[in-house]
């Protein structure tokens, strides 16, 4: 004979992830490190933006970039060319990074060897939103070639972001429009820092760095 019992649980499925993410965030803060999570669709320009950041930041800071991708190390290799340390996490079909994947990578390095950490999350505007990676700031990248409705269709991911990057602004006016995306991103959250960039020409990269709160000492 067996018996039946109803157990009340009332716990989110994210609890373990959230706890670990909080631990990562605290640890990084205590050590005075900066940690940013970059999210956005496939092809929005996350990697090329990170290449731009790598060029500008690597002269003054020790940068570590964690690339999330379904497979391949193409993105990590691209960014590593610019003098920063990169590692590729292959999620093997998983559509987002999570705190556990980040913690495992951080265990392999000495955190004190670096100043600024970035993740390039898996290209996706839905799944990464709910999975905290322990970053101090979330950034969402959309590009104007994704069409004028991309923010309207995927507003939820912006709710947890502090910076909205509207990328590929070099194509503005060439059949693409940055203005509506800027307006939409501002509507979702007041205080959202909305920045138009071009990872191709370098437009807006300095504003992006400023919004991240990173100072670049002026050259003498």
């Amino acid at each position: 004979m067996s018996q039946e019992k109803k157990i009340s649980v009332r716990e989110t499925v994210y609890k373990k992830n959230d706890d670990l993410a909080e631990e990562i965030r605290k640890n990084m803060k205590n050590k005075g490190k900066l940690f940013f999570n970059i999210m956005g669709s496939i092809g929005a320009g996350k990697t090329l933006l990170l290449e731009n950041l790598a060029v500008k930041l690597s002269t003054h800071y020790r940068v570590f970039v964690i690339n999330g991708d379904i497979a391949t190390t193409i993105d990590a290799d691209r960014i590593a060319k610019h003098g920063v340390k990169t590692v590729q996490i292959n999620t093997g079909g998983g559509c987002h990074l999570n705190a556990n994947l980040i913690a495992k990578e951080l265990e392999k390095i000495n955190i004190d060897d670096f100043d600024i950490f970035f993740t390039e999350n898996v290209g996706n505007l839905i799944c990464p939103a709910a999975w905290d990676v322990g970053a101090q700031m979330n950034i969402v990248v959309v590009s104007i070639t994704e069409g004028e409705y991309v923010v309207k269709k995927h507003p939820i991911i912006f709710k947890d972001a502090e910076i909205a990057i509207i990328n590929k602004c070099d194509l503005d006016g060439l059949g693409f429009d940055s203005q509506v995306l800027e307006e939409d991103a501002s509507k979702i959250k007041s205080g959202m820092k909305v920045i138009c960039t071009s990872a191709k020409t370098g437009q807006g990269i300095d504003d992006f760095i400023e919004a991240l709160g990173i100072e670049i000492p002026r050259d003498e």
Partner: protein
């Protein structure tokens, strides 16, 4: 696919509960989620079936999804409750304040929650 990770997370968590109570199997898992979780129920059910297919402790387990209403807190006027019943004519998800019309709201993600589990226990 977002539902597959969620189903895996549910199964992992329920495995621990089964262990803790030394249960023979789990008969039913009740979970709840709000609309901002963007869950497609069929995909969640399919993922759950695939993951638990070979698991004896999940034999004939039922996954019940309880839908929770959306809840927002307006950062303009402090309204707390369901979003504008008229919907949002512009955005794919409705988080607009019915009082002042602002979309600058904090959304209660009503994160996917395991509410309860029905266990079969040895007597």
């Amino acid at each position: 696919m977002h539902e597959f990770s969620l189903a895996s997370a549910i199964v992992e968590q329920v495995k621990e509960i089964i262990e803790e109570h030394k249960a023979i199997r789990v008969k039913k898992i009740s979970i709840s989620a709000g609309p901002y979780e963007l869950i497609i129920p069929d995909l969640l059910q399919d993922s759950f079936k695939i993951i638990t297919d070979e698991l004896e402790k999940f034999r004939e387990s039922v996954l019940e999804l309880i839908r929770k209403p959306a809840r927002i807190t307006c950062l303009e006027c402090d309204y707390n409750g369901e979003p504008d019943s008229e919907g949002d004519e512009e955005f794919a998800f409705n988080f607009k304040c019915p009082e002042c019309g602002s979309r600058d709201t904090h959304i209660d993600r009503s994160y996917l929650t395991i509410e309860s589990v029905d266990l079969e226990l040895p007597s």
